[in-house]
Symmetry: C2
DNA sequence: GCGCGGGATTTGTGATCACAGATGAAACAT
DNA sequence: ATGTTTCATCTGTGATCACAAATCCCGCGC
């Protein structure tokens, strides 16, 4: 077993490959335009072409990978318009998810969010873009899980997935010094039970990330 | 070629299968819980198991089909909560799409919508649930295409897809007599350039459909 | 009549293979 | 030196096969 990414070893081959690639793409392990081959993926995960192909198909279906007319597979290079649209979708759905999570947010959740947020500071100090993206998504996912809306969360993750390589490209090159301010604002709004404030904070957080991507 | 559904014959085998199944599911050709087998699909489309499996994987990834632990595939049976969540997603995204389409909606579009809408009346008279669902989706898609937001439209279609079998089940049994009123309201709001009215009309249209599904 | 084994059959999984088209690099001509 | 052609190689596609697990069905026992 060449690349067993500490996940369920009982899972089927194509599922291991799928999850492995998906995590890598969403967390920004790959740059936009990076090419992949079925045989290469198969060798990396110790499987044949068949499960590699199935995993790639699923990822293409989710927009995590793009496929040329000849069947060549690569991480997508997004246009400006597409980035804006995906950010608008993030705003739309994530504001709703946060709003639904608010009445269910108790102290333990808020403390967990603060812990994750301090982990984010560490990633900035380490200048670790992949760790930063992963921890940032963990912050959002932890909050949204409380919304008890699996279909919405799944759709949001689809959008994150599509933005993964692009986010990596931009977070990789600019040297961040400070934590984005809106996470604190989200936590404060949760603590205060302030729904309009929470909606605004989430919207601002996503928008600020978008501006960074378009700069 | 056993089932060439008048689509691009140059497309690859798995794509033909994928599109064929996807259309059938979205338009309500199948009831919830209906089982499928890879060999059966392959025979129906005149291909081997390999492209059938790839098509199924894509559809499972989109939530159009559900897969048991043993790999068995069937159309999903949605819980009440899931239906409500999907309807909320429809509202969120479709209101946004309609709003974005509004400034671009000219007379030709409005006339096309009216033509589609009268086709809908015909489907009701014929008591043709599949035709009704297909035409209804065509109405919405025609409007949303104007929004120039492909990622949003794609996500909306994913939601339609998940609701397809459930919609069929309910539209199949209750005998509709009249056209739902909100399509006319959508057209009127488009004509008047009334954005708040359009948002309300789309929201009402989706909500009314939801109530029908939960009754 | 009803529940329960047990074997035949169905079904999904993943590896392998032949094939066609795309890709890329080297050799040639200008 | 540059552009073009040609050929070896790479890559995705789809069919087939062996295998294991799940499912189904028939008959037995109660």
């Amino acid at each position: 077993m060449l690349a067993q990414t500490r996940s369920d070893p009982a899972a089927s081959a194509h599922d291991r490959v799928f999850r492995g690639l998906r995590t890598r793409i969403m967390h920004g392990d790959m740059l936009p335009g990076q090419a992949l081959t079925l045989r290469g993926i198969g060798k990396e995960f110790g499987v044949s072409m068949t499960p590699a192909r199935e995993a790639v198909r699923r990822l293409v279906a989710e927009g995590a990978l793009s496929m040329s007319a000849s069947g060549r597979v690569a991480t997508p290079e997004l246009s400006h318009d597409r980035i804006e649209e995906l950010a608008a979708l993030r705003t739309l759905i994530e504001v709703e998810l946060a709003s639904r999570a608010l009445p269910r947010a108790h102290m333990a959740l808020i403390e967990r969010l603060q812990t994750i947020n301090s982990g984010l500071t560490e990633m900035i100090q380490r200048q670790d873009p992949v760790g930063y993206i992963r921890t940032n998504l963990e912050f959002h996912r932890t909050l949204y899980l409380r919304a008890q809306a699996p279909a919405m969360l799944a759709l949001t993750e689809t959008v994150w997935l599509q933005l993964g390589p692009t986010m990596r490209q931009h977070y990789g090159r600019l040297k961040r010094k400070a934590l984005p301010p809106y996470h604190r604002m989200i936590i404060a709004a949760l603590r205060a039970g302030d729904e309009p404030g929470l909606r605004l904070a989430v919207r601002s957080d996503v928008t600020q990330g978008l501006k960074m991507l378009l700069s």
